[in-house]
Symmetry: C2
Subunit: 380 residues, 2 copies
C-alpha cells in the first residue's frame, strides 16, 4: 500500500537551475518516460545509451548532441545491408548546459532529461516517409498529454539538414515567437519568417504568439552519414550513403511546461496520464467519531480501487490522522491529485457514502463503494 | 512485434572506460532497475533524484556521494514529527569517476549507474531494525538474480558510521579479498581483518577468495544528521537527531559482474530475469522448402508465446531470412537468449514440431505448439 508518510513534494530548488526531483516528481517523470518508450516501441525504435561524457555544447538551439556519436557507431558496424533498414535508435539521457536564465524551473533547468531519436534510411523517399511517421508519433505522444500544441516550421540552424519542425505549447512564458497565418494556415517560428506577414501567402492576417518548444525534428539527408562514412550495401552490392533524420523531445521540459500551462496559482494540475497518483484517499482524523465508525473502510476502499485497471499503484492513502481532514484536503489539491476521496460523516451511515472530488471538472459526488468503483471504471 | 533488424549487440567501447550501451544492454539494465524499484516499493522506499552536478569525488571506496545533499534536504523540510518516520529515500543515477583501470568493462566503467538509499529513524533501535530490513531486501534482489553472493563485514572507511557490510560475487577477477572462516563462519573483507587468521575466533582454518563488490551498507548513526541539523520533534515535542543509514547497489556493476560470472568464452549468459529477451524464434531461410511449408507459423508462434504471463514483450522474431539458420542460431547463442526456437524441417510435418533449445540446461526438445506453450507456462 502507498501510504503518504511525509509530503516531500515534487521538486525543490537545490541551487540556481539545479533541482532535487522529489518522489512525486519522479513518478510523473517515469510515467512520461514510459509513455514515450511505448510509442517508440510502436514505431520499432530501439533504445540505447551513448556516453554522456562528450564535450559540453551550448544547447540553446542545438537540441541534439549525439548525431556524430551515433553516426559513428553505425559506421563502425559494417557491412550493413539494405535489408537492415529502416533503423531507428533512441536514447533518454540527462544533459547539462550552462544556463544563465534558469528562472522557469524544470522548463529551463541546468540539468535536464531529453529523448534523442536518430533514423537511418536507404534513400530519400524512405527517409521522408520515416520523417512523417516520427512526426505522427510525436503528435500521438503530445495528444496523450491532453495539452494543445502547435507544429511549426523551424530553422535547421546548427544541426543543418533539409527541413525542420518544432512542436510548441503556446504560453505567455514561452521564449519563442510563432507566426500563425489565418489566411493560408501557415505556421512557423518567426526565426525563419519574420513577424510582419505570412512568408507563404504574404497575407498580413497573422497572429504571433509565444511558444514553449517541447520537441524538434530534422530531416538531415546525408550531411552526417557522408562526412562520417555511414554507408550501406544496396541491392547491387554498391556502397551508398544513408539518409538520416534526428528528433528531440524535451522530457523534463514537457513536464515543467505541462504543469506551467495547466496549473492554477495555488494548485498544481497534471496531465491525467502523468499525475503522480490518480487517487488519494483521506482517512478520518484520529480520535473522531468517523474514525471509530468507519474503521477498516479506508483499507478496503484502497484495495478495491487498486485492483482496477489503470489504477494499480496509482492510489495513495493519506492516513496521517494527526492532521485534520481540511488540512490534508488542501494539501492534496496543492499537489494536484486528480481524484480526492474523503471519508467523512456520510461514511458512517449504514450504506457508507464517500465524498469524491473530481478536481479537473470541479465536481463533487457522494457515492457508495460500488458506485465509486463503477465511476472509476467508466472514466478509465 | 519485436523483429530483429540488425544485431547491434549489448555494449560497445566508445573510448577507454566509456561504453555505448546498445539495445540489448539497455533492456537488461531496465529490467534490473525495475526489479530494484519493485523491491524498494516493498520496503516503502520512495524514489527521488538529487542533482548530479555535485563536486567530483574519488569513488574507490566511497560509494555514496549524496549523504550530505539528502540530509540537507531533510533538514530543510521542518518541522518533522516522529510520526513521519521511518523514512526511506533512494535514487538511481549515473555517476562518473576518473578510473585508470577500466579494463573490466561495465564492472569498472568511468560512467556507471548506482542506486543510493538513505534511511532515517527516530532512534537507534529503529535504525538497527531498518538496517536489517534493508539487508534482507538486498538479499532478495541478489537472490532473484540467481548468482551466489557473500555478505561480509566491511570497513566503514570515509563514509564513517557504526557498522558496514558488503555484498560480493566471488570471482577471480574480483579486486577485493574476502576472508571466510571455516571454524566460526565469520566473513569479512581482509581490509578490516588481515589474511592470516580469523579476527573473531583466531582460527587459521580460513579461506581467502577474490570478490566483486556489488553492494555496500552503512549504519551511520547521527554522524550526518548532527552536523547538518537533520532533526525531528519527539513525542514530548523536544528536538532530537535522526539516526541514519545509507546503502549502495552498483547497478551497471551487477550487470557486468553477473555476465562475467555466468558467461562462457564464446557465449554470453544472463541471469534469467535480466535476459534482454527470453525467447528468440528463428524463422526458416528464405527460398527454402521450410519457408514455403511453414508460412505464417513463425508469426502464430510469436503471438501465442507473447500472450503468456512473463513473456509479453520478451520474445524476438529473427526473420532475417537472408541469413542461414545456422548463422542466426550461433549469433543467438552468442547473445545469450535463454530459449532459442528453430523452425526447421520437423515444422513442415502435419503436426508441426518446433526445436526448442534451452541454453542454460543445454537441452533440446521437439515440441508441438501446445506442448511448447505448456512448457513455457510451467517454467515461468
Amino acid at each position: 500500500m502507498n501510504r503518504l508518510m511525509l509530503d516531500l513534494g515534487i521538486i525543490k530548488l537545490a541551487s540556481p537551475g539545479i533541482f532535487h526531483l522529489l518522489p512525486l516528481g519522479i513518478r510523473a517523470l517515469e510515467k512520461l518516460k514510459s509513455l514515450i518508450d511505448k510509442e517508440m516501441h510502436k514505431i520499432n525504435a530501439q533504445r540505447l545509451a551513448l556516453p554522456a561524457l562528450t564535450p559540453a555544447e551550448l544547447w540553446e538551439k542545438n537540441w541534439l548532441t549525439h548525431e556524430e556519436a551515433i553516426t559513428d557507431l553505425l559506421a563502425s558496424i559494417a557491412p550493413l545491408s539494405y535489408k537492415n533498414f529502416p533503423l531507428r535508435l533512441y536514447q533518454i539521457t540527462s544533459k547539462y548546459r550552462d544556463e544563465m536564465k534558469s528562472r522557469f524551473g524544470l522548463m529551463r533547468g541546468r540539468q535536464f532529461l531529453m529523448k534523442d531519436l536518430y533514423t537511418f534510411d536507404i534513400d530519400m523517399e524512405n527517409a521522408e516517409q520515416t520523417y512523417s511517421e516520427i512526426i505522427k508519433s510525436y503528435e500521438n505522444i503530445l495528444t496523450k498529454l491532453g495539452i494543445g500544441f502547435s507544429q511549426v516550421l523551424a530553422a535547421t540552424g546548427n544541426i543543418g539538414g533539409l527541413i525542420s519542425h518544432e512542436f510548441h505549447y503556446t504560453a505567455d512564458v514561452g521564449e519563442d515567437k510563432l507566426l500563425f497565418c489565418s489566411n493560408c494556415n501557415y505556421k512557423g517560428n518567426v526565426e525563419i519568417s519574420g513577424q510582419d506577414y505570412c512568408p507563404q501567402c504574404k497575407s498580413t492576417k497573422i497572429i504571433v504568439r509565444n511558444g514553449i518548444e517541447v520537441a524538434h525534428t530534422f530531416l538531415l539527408g546525408d550531411k552526417y552519414s557522408k562526412s562520417l562514412n555511414a554507408t550501406y550495401l544496396d541491392r547491387n552490392g554498391s556502397i551508398a550513403n544513408l539518409q538520416m533524420g534526428c528528433y528531440g523531445l524535451g522530457i523534463s521540459r514537457i513536464l515543467g511546461a505541462a504543469v506551467e500551462v495547466l496549473s492554477l496559482e495555488q494548485e498544481l494540475r497534471w496531465p491525467l496520464v502523468l499525475a503522480p497518483y490518480k487517487v488519494v484517499i483521506i482517512a478520518p482524523k484520529g480520535g473522531s467519531k468517523e474514525e471509530v465508525l468507519t474503521s477498516g473502510l479506508d483499507q478496503e476502499l484502497y484495495d478495491n480501487i487498486d485492483k482496477l485497471d489503470g489504477y494499480t499503484g496509482n492510489i495513495l492513502l493519506d492516513d496521517r490522522n494527526h492532521l485534520t481532514i481540511g488540512k490534508r484536503y488542501l494539501e492534496a489539491r496543492r499537489m494536484g491529485y486528480p481524484y480526492i476521496i474523503v471519508i467523512g460523516s456520510k461514511a458512517t451511515e449504514t450504506n457508507p457514502l464517500y465524498e469524491l472530488n473530481e478536481i479537473l471538472t470541479n465536481k463533487q459526488h457522494f457515492l457508495d463503494k460500488n458506485e465509486l468503483l463503477q465511476h472509476f471504471r467508466s472514466i478509465q
